[in-house]
Point group: C2
Chain length 312, copies 2
């Protein structure tokens, strides 16, 4: 089902490397462990196969590394091809531990996005806290034609920044100048309007894109995160009682401005679920994904959980 | 979230044994591998902890065993406490490889059911073919109160056996005698009626039960497998065009005979999905589950897949 030719990983020791494949989504899993004294040297020696698997499947999971930040940075530099990286250690503040983070491609609602994502497990959660992945090619191919037709206009993302609740525009844009905000919006293709203390922005982006390296068409939007339906029933009802829908912090419509039916979002979520491959975190795991080929999410969890995240 | 006290597995080597826990569902995973020369001796030595984990979590996965039928039988005998076992090697004939088998507890629609299920992986599928498990206590606790109230009358399972299509009553009951069929139905609490060449049977069972050893309440029915909604859209429409609903090979209603709304089945399926823990099959894996504590299913797959199954 994965729309790629088989990847040649025959150069890798079959004891060390195997492909975990649920049909729609696959990842190369390399268990380095005690057999590999120097993980960086191993990665350099097998660089060609790792790259082939990464760009073929979209995901490579290295297991049994020493969970050291310095090693993580070196791997990011080696595979990501950059010397500057930012490592985000903090837990996401938008989602509580007992909430799932829906499947998404990083910044797919934006004008630009990271090429690669790196996750390293320093401490797995007491339970849960997995990072399921789903092949965005398979997601696109699994969605019904009539849904794709409705999404052909793309997705219109709207945000309301207000200073009295949630993220205000001063904080979000790191300025007190409305003129600077307006310039930023114009430069980034964002429509905007002022409504008293509020800033309302709107951008329209494609619902799918073609991954440049493979040419494969991928489902690549965050309608499921932005749409009203992504809020829990209780939160949504409380918010809609408190103020009109256009003042919601985030929302999504079809690109032509018409509402996205909740059933379409449900279908997208179900398709993500059907495609998702979940490989539980162990201490010392390092997951690399190609952001355009692979969506990711997070399951609910409890306990201390330290997953380092870097982008390239 | 798992409604059991923590299980004491401190007597097990932490390198060998760890608990995989997604919140609603947990399993003890023991990687025996090369360190353990004699898996049966290891099991005997750690019998107490294995039993505690099996009856606490509901599932134990042993990894790295030699995939030999004789060893499988010995493990089944040791843990299952029986000397007679039937090993089912064949792929299920009811479900094609490209279909998923919905989550269910074995024979939970029947008057009796196996206590333990054993699965051993001789050959993993080319892709997919996983056996997700879901804690039936968590499933019960996750279902909304109004749904539970609707299921308070139990589930009425209906079957139609016909000789011209699908499984006929002669084959199902292994007899040509209508009188013998009627006796069997009376002895097993099944209502029945004859309709020309057809035999229609009906049994009503609880939707949940209390697991005897722990007293825990578990979701324990096969409404999601029997209900019309379990058929794909195309198959369902084709069948309903061909003959009336009462002649469907299988169907489920609430215990009082009223229809189960498709939304309720969807909610049950989503709850199973939310609770499910999926541990991909490797050659030499042996999974043991307590049938009343843990539902199981099968994801779609391709390629040769040989998972031995035994019950006790």
């Amino acid at each position: 089902m994965i729309p790629t030719p088989p990847i040649d990983v025959t150069g890798l020791d079959p004891i060390t490397a195997r492909v975990e494949n649920n049909g729609p989504t696959a990842a190369l899993v390399c268990a380095l462990g005690d057999d590999v004294d120097d993980p960086l040297a191993w990665l350099r020696a097998h660089r060609e196969h790792i790259d082939a698997a990464l760009h073929g499947y979209g995901a490579v999971l290295l297991r049994g590394l020493p969970p050291e930040m310095s090693l993580f940075e070196e791997v990011v530099t080696l595979i990501g091809g950059r010397t500057e990286i930012g490592v985000n250690i903090d837990t996401s503040t938008e989602y509580r531990p007992d909430e799932r983070i829906p499947m998404h491609n990083e910044d797919s609602h934006a004008a630009s996005w990271p090429r690669l994502l790196f996750f390293m497990c320093e401490t797995p959660a007491e339970w849960g806290g997995y990072t399921p992945i789903a092949d965005s090619r398979s997601v696109f191919q699994s969605l019904p034609q009539d849904l794709l037709e409705r999404f052909a206009h793309g997705v219109r993302y709207t945000r309301t920044y207000r200073d009295d609740l949630g993220l205000g525009w001063r904080e979000a844009f790191q300025t007190d100048s409305r003129a600077k905000v307006e310039r930023y919006c114009r430069e980034h293709g964002m429509a905007f309007s002022w409504d008293g203390p509020r800033l309302l922005t709107s951008t329209t982006r494609p619902a799918w894109r073609d991954e440049p390296r493979s040419g494969a068409r991928v489902w690549f939007n965050q309608a499921n995160l932005f749409h009203l339906a992504a809020l829990g029933d209780e939160v949504r009802e409380a918010l809609l009682e408190a103020f009109p829908e256009r003042y919601l912090a985030r929302n999504a419509h079809f690109g032509n401005g018409t509402p996205i039916p909740p059933e379409d979002l449900l279908r997208v979520e179900q398709t993500y679920d059907d495609c998702a491959l979940t490989l539980p975190w162990h201490r010392g795991d390092l997951l690399i994904i190609v952001n355009m080929l692979m969506a990711h999410g997070r399951t609910p969890y409890r306990g201390a959980r330290r997953i380092w995240v870097a982008t390239a």
